[in-house]
């Protein structure tokens, strides 16, 4: 019954739309543009703040020492504000060794980022240097499969702790890590770039000249703001994951240590220094394990007079709330633009109501209740804004294409996804309905006699 009534209203609303095609088209055009701009902001927002893999609820983070105020102050109020949390979320190498020496946590991982040279063992004969569909090179002279790429050193538990889904293969095991096996997990981006034929799993990858066997391929791009290292947000994604201890063999310096005190020039100096660059995560699934680890921290760091704070995931998220970013600002601005478009829609719907005053008066005179007219106006607005929401893809799609080609700030593309489409459609229809409330109320409260108070057809 309710469905048939709704269908009846939808039919009436459709007819009503056809009655003022010019105004209807204007409403759709206006809402399409603002919805397209909103959708564009949303694509960037979702890329930065969008859903990330579900991390283990038992994850814990340890903040060691007090953060250097200098770094916090340096980045505050800048586009690089997320970097300010680096000094609090990461620890020095000696601190990492202490944190990971307890054997209490169920799982644990250290992680840091560095730049490595990655390539296939030998280019297949006749293969182009720049693979089709690969990331646009920064320079024609710079081949994407030979330039330094972001790589991350992690422990075997890392993938399970952060819920990173692999599209093929599996992460290396603790046993493989302990045996110093030369294994890697690669990102989808790297697999696509270097192995366009889809034969990456099990293949050999040359990393800084050493052969590594690919044991897993990530199912999706890495998050733009990786929860395991939020200070690395916004840059190119990590295309390669290696066992943590491999940094010794590769003689690696981390990409961006936070400077704390002067140190010598060698990597041995770095590893012995207080430079901050390792993120350490631990999984403490029970209250007992948490207590035991807290006691371990007190025993280990207490005598050194170093403050340590053990936080579970919610506490950690509260303590390290992401600072405002340009992406967030543009999301706010584009939401305002969508609402502004809604205001224009309100005016146009009022105009529509004026133009159809006679018709509405006749409906009322023939017995149509106010609620019916009100509902029909809302359905009409919903249909118009839904059409605009669908058409917004005509703006968001080309914009995403342009952005990925011409701006390409990272190798994580922005893309119109079902998720973004549903949000855009929902927001557009929601704003359309909200902005139709007043015009619908005005139209439904029109007195039946208005239509007959003057010659038919005159306003």
């Amino acid at each position: 019954m309710a469905a048939s009534l709704l269908l009846y209203h939808v039919r009436l609303a459709r007819r009503s739309l056809r009655r003022d095609p010019g105004l209807s088209a204007t409403i759709v055009a206006v809402m399409t543009v603002v919805s397209g701009i909103f959708s564009t902001g949303l694509l960037h927002y979702l890329r930065f703040y969008g859903p990330v893999p579900q991390a283990s609820p038992a994850l814990h983070h340890v903040e060691v020492g007090s953060a250097p105020r200098s770094l916090l102050d340096a980045f505050r109020g800048t586009t690089a504000a997320p970097n300010a949390i680096a000094a609090r979320m990461r620890v020095s190498y000696p601190s990492y060794l202490l944190l990971s020496g307890s054997h209490i946590p169920a799982r644990e991982t250290g992680t840091f980022r560095a730049r490595l040279l990655v390539r296939r063992p030998a280019a297949p004969p006749g293969t182009a240097e720049i693979p089709p569909g690969g990331a646009p090179p920064l320079d024609a002279d710079r081949s994407p499969w030979r330039c330094p790429r972001n790589a991350r050193f992690v422990n075997a538990d890392f993938f399970g702790m952060f819920g990173i889904e692999l599209g093929a293969g599996a992460p290396w095991t603790r046993a493989q890590e302990a045996a110093n096996e030369a294994v890697v997990v690669v990102s989808r981006r790297l697999a696509d770039d270097l192995f366009p034929a889809g034969d990456a799993l099990g293949a050999t990858l040359m990393v800084n000249g050493l052969p590594y066997r690919i044991v897993g391929i990530c199912a999706a791009h890495a998050p733009t703001a990786p929860p395991w290292d939020p200070a690395a947000a916004g840059g190119a994604q990590d295309v390669l994951y290696l066992p943590f201890a491999e940094h010794h063999r590769l003689v690696i310096s981390p990409e961006m240590p936070v400077h704390v005190s002067p140190r010598g020039p060698s990597t041995a100096d770095l590893l012995a220094s207080e430079e901050i660059f390792v993120s350490y995560w631990t999984e403490l699934p029970t209250a007992e394990s948490r207590r035991a680890y807290q006691a371990y921290l007190d025993r280990t760091f207490g005598p050194r007079r170093v403050a340590v704070t053990l936080r579970d995931l919610p506490a950690m998220r509260a303590a390290f709330a992401p600072p405002p970013t340009a992406v967030g600002f543009f999301m706010f601005l584009t939401s305002m633009i969508l609402l502004g478009g809604g205001l224009i829609m309100t005016r146009l719907l009022l105009a529509k109501g004026l133009a159809r005053g006679d018709e509405l008066g006749i409906f009322r005179a023939l017995g149509a209740p106010r609620r019916s007219l009100f509902t029909r106006q809302l359905i009409e607005a919903a249909l118009l804004s839904a059409a605009a929401g669908v058409l917004s893809i005509l703006i968001a799609g080309p914009q995403a294409f342009f952005y990925n080609r011409a701006v390409a700030d990272t190798d994580i593309p922005i893309a119109v996804t079902p998720h973004s489409f549903v949000i855009t459609l929902g927001a557009t229809v929601g704003v359309g309905l909200l902005c139709a409330l007043y015009p619908a109320w005005r139209a439904s409260t029109r007195a039946p006699t208005v239509a007959f108070g003057r010659p038919f057809g005159t306003p």
Binding site: G22, L23, T26, V30, V33, V34, I37, S70, A74, G77, T78, T79, N83, R115, L117, L138, D139, R146, C147, P148, N208, G209, A232, A236, R249, L250, V251, S253, M256, H259, P262, R263, P265, S266, T267, A268, L270, P324, A326, G328, F329, L333, M336, L339, G340, G341, L343, I344, R347, L350, A351, L354, A355, I395, F402, A406, V407, D409, G453, P459
Partner: protein
Amino acid sequence: MMSPSALRLDLGPLLRTLRRQPMVFALVVLEIAAGVATISSLLMAGRWYGRTAERPSGLDEDNLVLVSTYTPGTAGPGHDRASVERSVRAQQEADRRRLRALPDVEAVAPLTITILDDRWCYPTLFAGRQAGASTSSAARLMGWAIYSDEELLAALRLPILAGAGPRPGSADGALVTRSFAEQLFGAAERAPGSTLVSEQSPPTKILGVVADVRMRMPFMPNGLAVAFLFAPSPFDHEARLLVRARPGQRAAVLARARAAFAADRDTRFVEVRAFDSVDSLHHRIGSGLLRMLRVFGAMLGGVVLMGALASTWFLVAQRTRQIGIRRALGATRADMVVYFLLESMVTTALGSALGMMGAFVLYLMMRKVFLEISFDLGLMGLTLLLLSVASILATLIPALRAARIPPGVASRSL
């Protein structure tokens, strides 16, 4: 020119109309306010990106070539970390000699950071200590530490503003930029001879002050505060060599350098490129976003115009009787056009005032995320002008139509 009495005559009905339909006019005012606030914010953000993209490095780039290398080296049986680092550094030094030997090369200087890098790094906290003063009382500064050597000045061709350059063969001391010296010591002349203390390197003496150069992406803070340290740089597989070619010989040097390193491409990464800050990631991001935001601004302007035109048309149509009565009472066609334009100007003025307040609130939000952004009165004025013109245009066409309504229309429904 409209006389005050005529203006009063027009304002009376106008205000009565506003009172009769407050919601409609509130919507118009809000719509204009939203347009002013959002379009001006988009333009200001666009200008910020544009300016950031265009920020010059401060270097004479026309004759500079950048050679970036990544030399792998792995530890294992028979190769400890120290020996690997020695061999990588030896290769990097050999690269430099190879470049120096090329014809038309004037100087080759190593640099740990350049404005073209897409690699991330953090700034360093510096403190300066003038002779006889304590560090604790010294000012502090967040700046960028770059390791180089005595060929820096020849490669970058930077004028020394105070003090002197490094002595040949010396691996000690530092040069700082003018911005750096002024922020830390108050004046460039006070810096030479002072001790520079930092979180990154041991205390060293400031040898001299050079002109400002920007060595980091302009999105980063304090880009002109640079300290060039003449000390062994931290070990890194990556190296950057800045090559100065003889005037007019950059293309030839580029070709020779590429040929010189051609054989290395199979074993390590070597990139030879013209040093051109326009051909950089920050420029691509800045200019690309500027174009996008301009397009969005234009689209929004079009939306405001389209919406205003359509709805004004119907507002005029709604008042056909009112117009007919005024015409019957003696108002001329010109009076009617002036009346509608005045109505539009009142709502536009109210909307603009509200919009400017909104734009300022948005500007306060932008200050938190856009480094050193300023409230651009020029862009605000441009937005107001464009929206006013759009509003007048949107009113003019229906107003002219309204002016043609004959006085007889008013009597049809009487």
